[in-house]
């Protein structure tokens, strides 16, 4: 009898403590205010220069170095940025965004090749407009394919892949908050930057002074 009571009392105390711990945990996770930047965000990363650079490298292997006029379109991919509670940031490209970026890159490549061939013809003394045709038709006649088809099948690979983008723009960082600012440290280089942040609904803007990153909630 006495042993039953003792057991009952013991179990009660353990239950109370457990429930308290669970309650406090739940409070901290779900109820207590967390930092607004915690979570997963998406930002655009321009890779236009990577695309143009690859096209230039292919064109400049020609004997005559021709500066082509590129269209103004930008090629962008999504970077996924995750802030966790432990003070870590990871940045990585979103492979799903590469498809649409690739289409834009293709258009840039076709325009560059067309401009290159037009300028080469001019260098040889032939004005395309005087031929009553255009580069596309000349290529059709010569190879049975358009500029777009040639670039797609036989042209240089100018759209960077995820690995190439991550090599330049992905990374891991640590952060801590001081006086309402984020101190972000690159874990590879140790470089430290101070950034301000503003979070408004599903948008976040982080400014490091020279660079401004706009994030959307994922």
């Amino acid at each position: 009898m006495r042993s039953h009571k003792f057991l009952l009392g013991f179990l009660t105390i353990v239950s109370i403590i457990s429930l308290s711990v669970i309650g406090v945990s739940l409070y901290y996770i779900f109820i207590k205010d967390k930092s607004p930047y915690i979570g997963t965000w998406v930002r655009e990363q321009k890779i236009t220069n990577m695309v143009r650079g690859k096209m230039d490298a292919w064109l400049w292997e020609a004997d005559l170095k021709i500066f082509v006029d590129y269209p103004t379109d930008n090629v962008t991919v999504d970077m996924i940025v995750t802030f966790d509670r432990s003070g870590n940031i990871t940045v990585k490209s979103d492979k799903k965004s590469f498809d649409s970026a690739s289409e834009v890159a293709s258009k840039i490549g076709e325009a560059a090749l067309t401009d290159f061939l037009t300028k080469r013809l001019a260098a040889a003394g032939t004005d395309v407009s005087s031929l009553n045709t255009d580069v596309n038709l000349l290529l059709e006649e010569a190879l049975g394919m358009s500029v777009a088809e040639y670039m797609s099948e036989y042209g240089p690979k100018i759209m960077p892949d995820a690995e190439e983008v991550d090599a330049l723009f992905a990374g891991t960082y640590t952060y801590r908050e001081e006086d309402g600012r984020l101190i972000i440290t690159d874990t590879d280089t140790g470089e430290e930057k101070t950034a301000t942040y503003v979070v408004d609904d599903d948008k976040m803007v982080i400014t490091t002074g020279r660079e401004t990153y706009i994030y959307s909630k994922k």
Binding site: E61, A124, A142
Partner: protein, 499 residues
Amino acid sequence: MKIKTKIITSLKYICIFILTVCITFAMPLTAEATLETYPEYLRNIPVSIVGSSEGNVKAVDLNYDENTYISMRDMAELLNATQKAFDIKVTYNSVSVTSGVPYEIKGGENVPFASNLRDEKDDPYNRKKNAFSIDEKEVSYYTIIHKNSEGVYDCYITPGDFALLLDIDMWYNGDVLNADPDSALNLNLKDLEADGYFEGMNAVLLGDASSGEVIYEYNGDLSFPLASITKLMTYAVVMDAVTGGRISLDTVVTFSENVEKLSYSVDHAFHMQAGDTATLEDLIYGSLMQSSNECSLALAEAVSGSEERFVEAMNLKAAELGMSDGTFFYNCNGLPVFSGGVFSGKKQNHITAEDLFILSNYLLSVYPRITEITACSEKYLESMSRTVMNSNPMLKNVDDVVGLKTGTTNKAGSCLVSAKKVSVNSENRYIVAIVLGAEDGAFRNNVSQTLLSYGTKVLQAGDGGLLDGASHIDGGAESKKIPRDAESLARLIVRKTIK
């Protein structure tokens, strides 16, 4: 003692006699052994004239088997009653053919050679570029002139040249040489290639300059020396400078010491003194017609200040025109260039037949006035007080040939690029025939004329269509090669526009 002396003397005389007899009889044996080592080069070929007669014509295999030259008198006699009847007059150094008239029998026609071997006392059968005319028009063929058994001068010519001369279809059927006087020469380049006709050349190309289409090519993309054909590129760069306003055709050019020195070298056309002058236009005529290396150098220096800078412009022009890496220039005239030093090497300008076709098309379309120069047989250059002559044999042999340039060095062989105007449905089009590296002028001329004949018939067959039995050789090969680099792609597109 006396008897002994007499015996010895007698023995001496007997020995001398025996020795003399031996030598006398041994010589013919030796000679006969020597004769047996001569190849049989006189033979009699059975000939069948379609729809007419049959017979034998005398033939000379010049130095080698199948390097055959046939008797024109024998052929004239066999063709007498046909559409291709012709008369021929032959002197010790000239041949004159009149087509469409009966042949006047002189004696010895179709009398076979009595023996395969040339009589030791006979004159040799030497091949030369004897004076030759047909219907009073001077032509250029390599022939053998030799008296026949009746002492009448006869002319021997290759069957191929004979067929081209009279535009008569000829072919071998086994050992029998056939000729069809009712049929024009019917060439099939595919068959000729299979028979090894082009193997003696470095490269050959026949193209329609008006469309840019290659009709036939043999080793067309391989790089070979081009000798004086270089001067076509020299002309292109000079004319670019003229049209660009940097210099004019009337510019008076002063010859440098370099020009004088070259004009006194072994490869000169004429002497030019430093300080003397000539107009740019006259120098162009001298360069293209007489293939004057010194005129080319004077042009280069006038345009660019130095030959080195001019050659840079030539190589840049080659790149601009979409030419391949197989085309490069060291100088403006095509002479061999020695590298200098203790171990001095010899270099020469190179080109591919395909690239030469590009250059020819470019000149014909962008600077068509070139044909006024290259089609000219003779021209008096006022500023140089001299007359220049054109060395292109096709101007004589083929109607409507408008150029373009010969070229010969030991390494390059005998080269020629010819352009011919062909009238197709009231439209004037051009065909270009390129021969690089023939062993000698005779081969070069024969192949060039064969290509021009074939090309003319191809164009006149309509819409660039091909004769029966023929087909495009390597035609369309361009379309099967997809260039993977920017330079090759650019060159392909540029080539497409050169018409």
